[in-house]
């Protein structure tokens, strides 16, 4: 219940938050322990860690799809629940989750429809979003007529359609091939820059985290906690050359070492992390 000073202007504040599933039963899981995280507006925060470190759980807490066992989660200065009710954020998952019976345009219009927007207003915004993700001529296609990368772009357009200040993404490019993935990463940076969006992005790829994020939050498993936060100062203009930059490789090494030291307690190697 305590109000903290940076929370008023922050996009996301997670304070002393823990998440326990199946408390008191034999299959009890301590998914998250004592998490503190502040995301400033226009930040791009990447959550990275081995499988089972609770990074998706943390994202779901911010989205208020689950309630924390203890602690406070604030989004845009409001409780996470109120922010969800106000639809203050857009969300994208690993599976594009497009509705196969709706055209691409109708899929993008879905959040606007639920907000009670009028028909012409919806159409105008959907066309604007189609333009933004460079799918202008595909508005009347059905999702299954599009490639995986295009479907994922539609999902991002849907997440951004209502111009939410915050975008929550759970491994949105995980199912894409490497070439499409790099292309989508560049697209995402361009789109978020154009729309002034704050992003919390779950990934298990180190280069993806470093390329996209202004801050990489490194997590470790059992119980899930934040072991390190690494600022990535590669500037706001990132392009294909950034991927071959020395600073880029140094950051990748830094994140990798942070992941290894976080995992030091059990001697196992870092599982579920992509080095490529």
């Amino acid at each position: 219940m305590s109000a903290v000073n940076p929370s008023a202007s922050a996009a996301v504040v997670v304070e002393r938050t823990s998440m326990v599933f199946n408390r008191g039963r034999s299959n009890q899981v301590d998914a998250l322990a004592d998490i503190d995280l502040v995301v400033a507006p226009r930040d791009f925060v990447a959550l990275i860690g081995p499988s089972g470190c609770g990074k998706s759980t943390l994202l779901r807490l911010i989205a208020n799809l689950i309630e924390p066992t203890s602690g406070t989660v604030l989004v845009n200065g409001k409780s996470a629940r109120q922010s969800r009710l106000d639809q203050d954020y857009g969300m994208a998952f690993q599976q594009s989750g497009l509705f196969e019976w709706r055209t691409v345009r109708k899929n993008i219009e879905l959040p606007l429809e639920l907000k009670g927007w009028g028909k012409s207003q919806r159409r105008e915004r959907a066309d604007e979003m189609l333009e933004l993700v460079q799918l202008a001529e595909f508005g009347d296609h059905l999702p299954w007529q599009l490639s995986g990368g295009m479907q994922q772009r539609v999902a991002i357009a849907r997440a951004l359609a209502a111009h939410p200040p915050l975008l929550l993404m759970d491994e949105p490019f995980g199912a894409l091939d490497e070439m499409t993935r790099e292309h989508m990463q560049a697209e995402l940076l361009r789109i978020c820059d154009a729309a002034d969006t704050t992003v919390v992005f779950v990934t298990h790829s180190i280069p993806e985290a470093v390329y996209l994020a202004t801050r990489v939050v490194v997590m470790s498993a059992r119980p899930g906690r934040i072991t390190d936060v690494i600022d990535v100062d590669l500037g706001s203009e990132r392009d294909e050359d950034t991927r071959e930059d020395d600073a880029f490789f140094k950051k990748i090494t830094e994140v990798r070492e942070a992941l290894r030291s976080g995992e030091a307690t059990p001697p196992a190697s870092v599982r579920g992390i992509e080095d490529r």
């Binding site: 954020y89 969300m91 509705f99 196969e100 019976w101 639920l114 299954w144």
Partner: protein, 284 residues
């Protein structure tokens, strides 16, 4: 599309001719009086009495139904079948409305599903032939036309596959889609309308197909035990004359078969409309 339709029509005619040929072939070689295998009477009789010639069945269609009148049998059969078709259609519609409503309530409240599903399944084990006269007698108390009760009995059989298929379909959306609707703070009703119901349609279509067939069977069986004069009743009355006029009963069978085909065609047409936006298997 047209070529595919033509090919299917041709296949249908070929299949029909094949069945007629097999029938006549057996009549030619089969024993007049039937036969036994290890003491079991399993070899059918090939006499004109038991297996009238196919051309006799067809020519019988053009004879008058009752001696002294001019209405040919085929016209009478069309009339009976049309009546049965309408009752089956009403039964299917009633069954679909009730079945879908029941599935929605069961999907909404797990308690209802647990409590009600055993009774829904048990309802299908009640023999319709015993239930039909009871329902018809009950109908007498309300002064409703008898055909409504027959349609209701069709619905009684039709609702079950539709309800079970809908219930399965309503729970088919992946967790990510449900989370998406949650992230929009959508109510259960909104999620039903925008996500669960559209997602259920591919699962519902086979249920409706089964339901359509069940409605036809339900109506025909109920006609027999309630005396409503549709094609089932015609089959019964013609069957009573089978010893003197064995070909006539088959005219009613033709009517019932045609009725089944029309019903199936109708459901396929509904399917085509409902599934027009869905992934085509050829696209994969």
């Amino acid at each position: 599309m047209i070529r595919l339709g033509a090919r299917r029509a041709a296949l249908f005619v070929v299949a029909l001719a094949g069945v007629a040929f097999l029938w006549e072939f057996y009549k030619l070689v089969g024993p007049e009086t039937g036969g036994e295998v290890f003491g079991w009477r399993v070899i059918p009789k090939a006499s004109d009495q038991a297996m009238p010639h196919t051309w006799e069945m067809v020519s019988r269609l053009f004879d008058p139904e009752v001696r002294g009148k001019d209405t040919p049998i085929w016209l009478a059969i069309v009339g009976y079948s049309w009546y049965t078709f309408r009752m089956a259609l009403v039964g299917l519609l009633l069954g679909a409305v009730f079945g879908i409503a029941l599935a929605i309530v069961m999907a909404r409240f797990k308690v209802v599903e647990r409590g009600l599903l055993p009774y829904v399944i048990a309802s299908q084990t009640v023999p319709l032939i015993a239930l039909a006269p009871q329902v018809a007698a009950l109908g007498g108390n309300w002064d409703l036309p008898k055909w409504m009760w027959v349609a209701a009995l069709g619905a009684f059989l039709a609702f079950f596959p539709i309800s079970v298929a809908t219930l399965k379909g309503l729970s088919s959306p992946p967790p990510a889609s449900l989370e998406l609707m949650d992230s929009y703070a959508a109510s259960w009703t909104t999620t039903l309308v925008k996500l669960r119901f559209p997602a259920a349609i591919p699962t519902m279509v086979p249920g409706v197909k089964l339901g359509a067939t069940a409605a036809v069977i339900g109506v025909i069986v109920s006609e027999i035990s309630t005396g409503v004069r549709g094609v089932g009743f015609a089959a019964l009355t013609y069957g009573q004359k089978a010893t003197s006029d064995p070909a006539q009963v088959y005219t009613a069978v033709f009517g019932a078969a045609a009725l089944g085909l029309v019903m199936f065609g109708l459901v396929v047409a509904i399917e085509a409309v409902m599934m027009r936006n869905r992934p085509q298997e050829a696209v994969g």
